[in-house]
Symmetry: C2
Subunit: 389 residues, 2 copies
């Protein structure tokens, strides 16, 4: 099958230090009544909150704010912010934070054009028709939400974590200053890096024919994360490491590497159930699941892709038998997650027992099959969960 796709990523990126001087002029292209959205207050500690206020002062911008957006952002929080947008006639959304803040802001923007519960939109009961213009200031290299058109929202009442998207939700402008990630903890840096890698893996590990060029670029991004995540953890203020992770996070998921391939996103589908039931950090769930999912997928049919991964990413001796290279590559990835990055490696260590395996597996595949690298039915997902115990 010949590759056919549409690529369109108009987000304007200001990368590096000193770029916030352009914030006011960019905002004013879209409006003057601005809602600043943020999370638990880390931007107040880091000084970014004050910096934003400073550069927007005396610019004729009316700034409102909505803080307290949680990791795995809740639909109830989004509903509250939508109410504020409508009351204050907000024209532009300014999301300052990581993927949770930006994801929530996308649904705040879309929900402003809908009369009803945002959950209707998340669950596709109601269509997304439009979205307020969004400008982001990124503080965490992880989800790529700063340069893509999707987001994920959690409903803790129904234990659902569901993604949706629309071209209008793509940020107009994103400010990517690696310095704004210097304060990200070692743990969150590790989880963010696992998230970036997973975005690439979900596309890269695929039996559809690839454009060689995009496979090479995927490997470039994987190597970048593997090289710089440990450096960022050891030296939180290392600009080069933070810059590489930050720019890699955007390109892992903005559409370039897809090349028109079907992408069923196996690990993400499964992990969303873990986060929905146990409210764990998304990247941690992905790190625990990924090597087991790989082991489960590895067979004579898929071995060539793992061989390519091992040789090109981990520089494993290409003269070894493919299956040996494949197993070694998966082992090296486990070592990277659980030794180099120091993430916990089993469900037991993070307080997840077997009680919901069947339920989560059923929900992950929605009673059908995840048509991924290896098609996964409910039983397959349960088996993968068991491997994570």
């Amino acid at each position: 099958m010949n590759s056919t796709f549409i690529y369109e990523v108009p987000t304007k990126i200001y990368f590096g230090e000193g770029q916030l001087e352009n914030l006011a002029s960019e905002i004013k292209k879209y409006g003057k009544r601005v809602l600043l959205t943020y999370g638990g207050g880390s931007i107040k500690k880091s000084g970014l909150y004050d910096e934003v206020h400073k550069v927007l002062k005396d610019q004729g911008i009316e700034l409102f704010e909505f803080g307290g957006i949680e990791p795995n952002p809740r639909h109830t929080t989004v509903n509250a912010a939508i109410k504020l947008c409508k009351e204050k006639k907000i024209e532009v959304l300014l999301a300052v934070g990581g993927g949770s803040v930006i994801d929530a802001t996308k649904f705040i923007g879309a929900g402003t054009f809908y009369n009803g519960d945002i959950w209707d939109i998340v669950t596709r009961k109601a269509p997304i028709t439009n979205c307020l213009p969004i400008i982001t200031i990124l503080t965490l290299a992880a989800t790529g939400s700063e340069m893509d058109a999707g987001g994920v929202i959690t409903n803790l009442q129904t234990n659902d974590k569901i993604g949706n998207g629309h071209p209008s939700m793509l940020p107009k402008v994103s400010f990517l200053n690696p310095v704004n990630t210097y304060t990200v903890s070692a743990y969150q840096t590790a989880c963010g890096s696992a998230d970036i890698l997973s975005h690439i893996f979900e596309v890269y590990f695929n039996m559809e024919p690839d454009l060689y060029m995009l496979d090479c670029i995927s490997e470039s991004l994987i190597k970048t994360v593997i090289k710089f995540a440990p450096i960022a953890i050891k030296e939180p203020n290392n600009y080069e490491a933070r810059a590489n992770l930050m720019w890699a996070s955007s390109w892992a998921i903005n559409g370039l590497i897809d090349g028109g391939k079907d992408q069923p996103w196996s690990c993400h589908s499964i992990e969303h159930e873990l986060s929905a039931y146990y409210d764990i950090t998304h990247g941690l769930g992905l790190a625990i699941l990924t090597p087991r999912w790989m082991e489960y997928c590895l067979d004579e049919r898929t071995v060539s892709k793992f061989y390519q991964f091992g040789v090109n990413v981990f520089d494993i001796d290409k003269s070894l038998p493919p299956m040996v290279v494949a197993k070694k590559a998966i082992a090296l990835l486990s070592e990277f997650f659980f030794k180099t990055l120091g993430l916990k490696g089993t469900f037991k260590e993070i307080g997840i027992d077997e009680s919901k395996f069947e339920l989560m597996a059923a929900k992950a595949c929605r009673g059908k099959t995840i048509k991924g690298f290896k098609p996964l039915k409910k039983e397959d997902i349960e088996n993968i969960f068991k491997m994570c115990r």
Copy 2:
């Protein structure tokens, strides 16, 4: 120095077969009075001209046309097309062709907003203030003009070939169907591939600090061209090869790989003089110049970059001494251009003698220094010319 840059590439890309069904709707977003621009008529032979007319028929679009745009497009040709645009009140430009057609179309679009000779705009005597919206259908993988905001125009009266650009000249939409390059000759495929490689080299061979990620992506694009150009030459209808070359051409020069580095573009500056005086194919001139320029730049200060190039692109044994790897890499690149791609390897073979070396060298550096990978004065450029004899 920390990397700081702005990245903004809003061009919408329709990649692959069967996408022209979207042409009418994309055009109508911008207007209904359309000027179709094209070159020497190869699109009539290939059937693309008829296909465009077919998909635009009965769509309420008034189609005018301007053919005969030459390789190394002339400013006089651009002036003639601008006159037509003004007479016919053209609203949208539809460029169907390779880099020459698209480059010329960019200046046609800009010149429509200027009263005077387009050469004023090319030479920066007059500013670019705006440009008609441009939609392209690409027929040659080479210049990347389909996804960047610049172009190059030739004045045969003054023997000048000069580039300029403006954000408004960035194509709104580009249709990249690899099938449209099946009819590109072996020679033009080779020249186009040399052009793509040169765009990457001009950024990659640079002593400013790089983002590792962008260096890896540059190497991905180089490897893609080296892998698929020979295949496209042997099997002109190989979709995979044509697709990889086509998409690589866009990403070689759309801004991603720059990462905010200063880019003096040494080989392009020098080659433009060759094309201006001898009207040779741009990619051929680049192929002849590039390995000599590399040899000339290679020293203790620059060897590390050539070593990286040799190891990562040509898979040369990394345990060899850096200077050995560097020389081997340059030799392999020469072999690629002059044996694998079959391009002529010396000035003598293409009818260029020494008579204009001094004149062209003086014009290339504009009496100053090209501050590239290795700073080049007039004498240096003459030396490089002598190496090409």
